[in-house]
Symmetry: C2
Subunit: 444 residues, 2 copies
């Protein structure tokens, strides 16, 4: 267990010269083919849940190649499980590892930075619905395809490439940097939480998620649960008036949709959510029920994903969902009453807001303008982000910012190559400016 | 392959004497504890689909004990698969056996009879919803509990017990008898079909299904299929207007319910179905969909059971269902159009009518009145029965007749013990009267 406290000493404000900035931008370009090749290689390592280790091996190799101090550890711990932000896991954490590569300058003069990304990807779904293999990171025009290409192997490698570009530009960082490749972002958020609990903090965090070349201002919380409905049906020949678990499950879905609509109607009360079309999405992501075509189904399970506004505790949201499904189950005016059980099995995560006005954000506005030639925009996302770990529990300004993508979690997921290039440039300038640099030669 | 042609010679009408009948009835009583013990032993051998062999071993032992000629064979054959009544199977038929025990009198003077029953049982469902283990055939009051107790291990052993009682009464049958224990009645009906194709026919068939001490007059056809809906959804954050396979599956269910209602509205056109409450039941027996709680589900599969009236061909019914789900899938006025695929995976069975007026039925009316002290009633069942094999393809009068049960295909399935006793008595008298008997001593 290593501990890295935030830098407490006053940082030396480092202003890059135009010439240094140009060198960094040129280095990103010079290395860009290599960056894409590493991204494609990472996409080709399918890091589905509980299968991330081969991909983490690649990441570890990249970190070691740069001479970083590598910390790779299995994320399970009692401390993690006791944390209020812990999401109940159903997989074995004794063999699932985070990888952190740390750069520590000889003298810490600048500010410290975490460059975070997640290695896990969501399931590819039926491969027949992909134009080509989801694990074949082909490039067509400006797009690289593949499961995880956008979400977020492009970002993970961009973190690495930004760091490499600064060094290739002949500059040496004067602030501490942690490159993080974490697991479990797509299901619990326990990977980033485990990294925070291991002691990794910094003066700012960048998470290079696919965010349309923009900055995430606020973000929903996400809860995962399994809802099991059950009762006692009969033979199909007597089914007309009896219990049917698949019908009952659909009644539960309808009840959840009512709760979802109520929460969406409250959007005016939530800062940064007023202008969204449909900020709160409940997703019924999975369903399983029944044992036999000619038996009326006795049970049906729904795997649900519930979104919440920042400031709503996971406990309160969970209680509301519990009450909603219990009321539906006991309402025998529309259907035979049935048993319902709600079990947490993943995210138990509250949303967050990136408070405006931080130095961290101000700097990103600058580097973004330099590279993109226009102002940085911020927006509110209705999907889970590990930003909540660093903001809610680390109190660290956290910039979720990254390239343009399409169809993440869908078929033919893809990420814009020119967007990767620009975001990498913006992050490389950010890294050099935030942490400070000296000329590598003068440091020798 | 053995072949047993129906008896063509004129049978000798055998009238049991009152004394002979009394001896048979007394023999059923004398052996009844043994009959119940064999039934319980058979319930304790869970003969779920593709796991029937241990239970068939028990049956074979019972048949051999009686000195019957035993024929046990794996049911798979090209002839079976080519038959129009074949239901598409997804299990291995090379190790799944039927057992037939044949009694052949030295001279065939009487009529021949098949006593048929199925060994397979439907899944027990969540065991937590049973009061005790579904494989523990406990007796409480007049009820024996357990999966398959009613449907139809009580009947299978009653067939055996009826045969044993005639012999224990000191009588020797003068007609050929086939005791049949078949597989696949709960999913395809291929077991009885394979027995018919193997050459087993007779002048009448009794199938001792749990039929409330009554006779089945008519019976629906049943089709099984898997309906897969699929499309291209997106990340939950963009889900408001997109495709969702679980929602689409419920749209398909609703469309099927409309077709079901239309068919039920036509009941007036179908003899023996006019007075039923809801003769045509479509059962959605299983549902599976989605890969990940935070991905909008791209696919969902329904396992459905469709009922049809006798006289409606399976091909016509299948075409109607196909048209129904295809119309729903392409209706993009209510939802994004999606792909739908309907695949047969079980029953492809037409219904049947037991034409009134047969000698076979007339005799059952007599034996039933003798034992129960009241008239035999007949009724129409909205569940599949193997009767369709013998009626539709063998042109044999087939009496589906058996004890009172509750919750077959449900939890705490149970069968009435006194009803078993009476049905066994009625069948034993039937067997002796139909096939004819001579005193065993005089035959020696």
């Amino acid at each position: 267990m290593s501990t890295h406290e935030p830098t407490t000493q006053q940082h030396v404000q480092q202003q890059l010269t135009q010439e240094q900035a140009d060198r960094i931008l040129a280095a990103v370009d010079a290395q860009f083919d290599d960056q894409l090749a590493r991204t494609a290689e990472l996409v080709a390592a399918p890091s589905l849940r509980a299968g991330e280790e081969a991909a983490q091996d690649l990441i570890e190799r990249h970190y070691r190649e740069l001479g970083l101090e590598v910390d790779r550890w299995a994320i399970g711990s009692d401390e993690l499980e006791a944390h209020p932000g812990y999401g109940k896991a159903t997989v074995d954490y004794s063999t699932m590892t985070n990888v952190v590569g740390t750069y520590a300058p000889s003298v810490e003069a600048g500010r410290s930075l975490i460059l975070n990304g997640h290695i896990d990807v969501v399931p590819e779904g039926p491969e027949s619905q992909w134009s080509r293999s989801p694990w074949d990171a082909r490039v067509e025009g400006d797009w690289m395809y593949g499961r995880g290409a956008g979400d977020m192997k492009a970002g993970l490698i961009a973190n690495l490439a930004a760091f490499r570009a600064v060094r290739a530009a002949g500059l040496e960082l004067t602030g501490r940097v942690h490159l993080q490749s974490v697991v479990e972002e797509e299901c619990t958020g326990n990977g980033s939480l485990a990294a925070l609990l291991r002691g990794y903090t910094a003066d700012a965090v960048i998470i290079s998620e696919p965010e349309e070349d923009a900055l995430v201002r606020a973000n929903v919380g996400v809860l995962w649960g399994t809802i099991r409905v059950s009762g006692s049906p009969t033979h199909p020949r007597e089914m007309a008036s009896g219990f049917n678990a698949i019908d009952a499950a659909y009644d539960v879905i309808r009840a959840l949709r009512v709760l979802e609509a109520r929460w969406n109607a409250e959007q005016g009360e939530h800062r940064y959510f007023q202008d969204l079309d449909h900020p709160i999405n409940f997703n019924i992501g999975g369903i399983t029920g029944g044992d036999w075509p000619s038996s009326v189904p006795a049970w049906c399970e729904l795997r649900v994903r519930i979104a919440t506004y920042p400031g709503v505790t996971a406990d309160d949201a969970w209680a509301a969902v519990t009450e909603c499904v219990a009321a539906e189950a006991s309402d025998d005016s529309r259907h035979p009453a049935f048993a319902v059980e709600l079990t947490p099995d993943g995210f138990y995560a509250e949303g967050y807001v990136l408070e405006p006005g931080s130095e961290a954000e101000a700097l990103l506005e600058e580097t973004h303008r330099t590279v993109f030639g226009k102002d940085l925009t911020s927006f509110t996302t209705p999907g889970y982000l590990d930003g909540r770990v660093f903001v809610n529990y680390g109190n660290i300004p956290t910039l979720v910012y990254g390239p343009i993508s399409e169809n993440i979690h869908g078929f033919d997921e893809r990420v814009s190559i020119e967007s990767i290039r620009r975001c990498t440039k913006s992050m490389a300038l950010y890294l050099a400016s935030w942490c400070g640099v000296v000329e590598a030669a003068s440091a020798a």
